[in-house]
Chain length 218, copies 2
């Protein structure tokens, strides 16, 4: 028992933010960063796709609207290529150094967008996850969930849409359904947060979740 | 039987050129293209990594010498991401239209470079091959083989080296060994050509191979 406690203490905590565009992930990520710093934790804030120079180049390739149609297989392979770099050069070194890593989207987004949205087989995603991540899984997944129509309204207000944001409403319905199915499958890791609630209410909820994670590591 | 003959006649022929840098692949590709045109065949000349705008962007990412170390998993995933685009938008449409496709490197290079050179498990490569290519395999693989020292001398004469070309001699020894092992495993598809032979001798050999492929399709 003392051994596993020591292990928990020395390794950082890996938190991911999930959900569709327009649900306020960036705002909440900034809040989490502030709160963890205030409570004396070293924090690395990052995102997917992206997180390293090569992975950011891959992000550009994925999000740019272009003439050549990107097929679902390519999308998934590019995401895991960037993820492999991100894990190797950013996430694992930070966690091993005892830092907390707050990542805007991770593999659950591949299950939701490529699996749910595009219909790529979940087994393919699982095989890539096992290969590229080995035992690395988020300690806590904050799923910011709300009705698709509401999220789409917020996206459209922002102006210029990227390649993924131009998809049909049905696509995002499948994405949301896949996220909720993941949350049901992994209740211990997932925290579903109603993204349309008042900001202060969401922040109170996030604080409680963070306090619990901090306490678990003491 | 008449059915399978019809099928063979209508689908184009898929030829790949394999081997290390500096073995004369471009020269021989140009010769093959000329010879096939002279004999009345529609030809598409292409290459990997690359072959579509997105796959060419991936090629740049793979070959550029940069500060961030690209891990073997990323290399393999990027190659198959580009390959998926290349097959979907270039190779399959051309073959289905009855054209001959001559490709400078294809999946056998992944087995040789990422499998042999980098030590990625051959089972991982095989899994990606099955997923991304389904039943698509080259009809004929021309392996331009020669001693590693000789090929390296030719590469160095060219001047500026890309990321892969800067590898050690031992890396290329493993690449060569993996190519030769593939040739032994698939003798029906592989033709090993001694790359240091006289140009006219190599061209005579290639002509014989092409004549056989043409006759098989009659």
């Amino acid at each position: 028992m003392p051994n596993s406690l020591t292990k928990n203490n020395s390794r950082g905590c890996f938190i991911t933010l999930e959900g569709m565009e327009g649900v306020g992930k960036s705002t909440h990520q900034a809040f989490i960063q502030r709160y963890l710093k205030q409570t004396g934790h070293a924090v690395v804030v990052t995102r997917e796709p992206g997180g390293t120079p090569i992975a950011e180049t891959i992000r550009q390739l994925l999000l740019k609207r272009q003439a050549e149609v990107i097929i679902p297989e390519t999308e998934l392979l590019l995401l895991f290529a960037g993820r492999a770099q991100h894990i190797k050069h950013v996430i694992r070194p930070a966690l091993n150094a005892g830092k907390w890593v707050i990542c805007d989207r991770f593999t659950d987004a591949s299950y939701a967008y490529q699996g749910g949205g595009r219909g790529v087989s979940m087994q393919k995603i699982e095989a890539l996850e096992k290969w590229v991540q080995a035992d690395l899984r988020p300690d806590c997944i904050l799923l910011l969930d709300t009705r698709v129509k509401l999220a789409l309204k917020r996206i459209k207000r922002r102006g210029k849409l990227d390649r993924i944001e131009t998809e049909e409403e049905e696509f995002f319905q499948r994405v949301r359904a896949a996220y909720l199915a993941r949350a049901e499958k992994f209740p211990g890791r997932y925290e579903i947060i109603e993204a349309s609630a008042a900001l202060l209410k969401i922040q109170r909820r996030i604080k409680l979740i963070l306090d619990k994670l901090i306490n678990d590591r003491r």
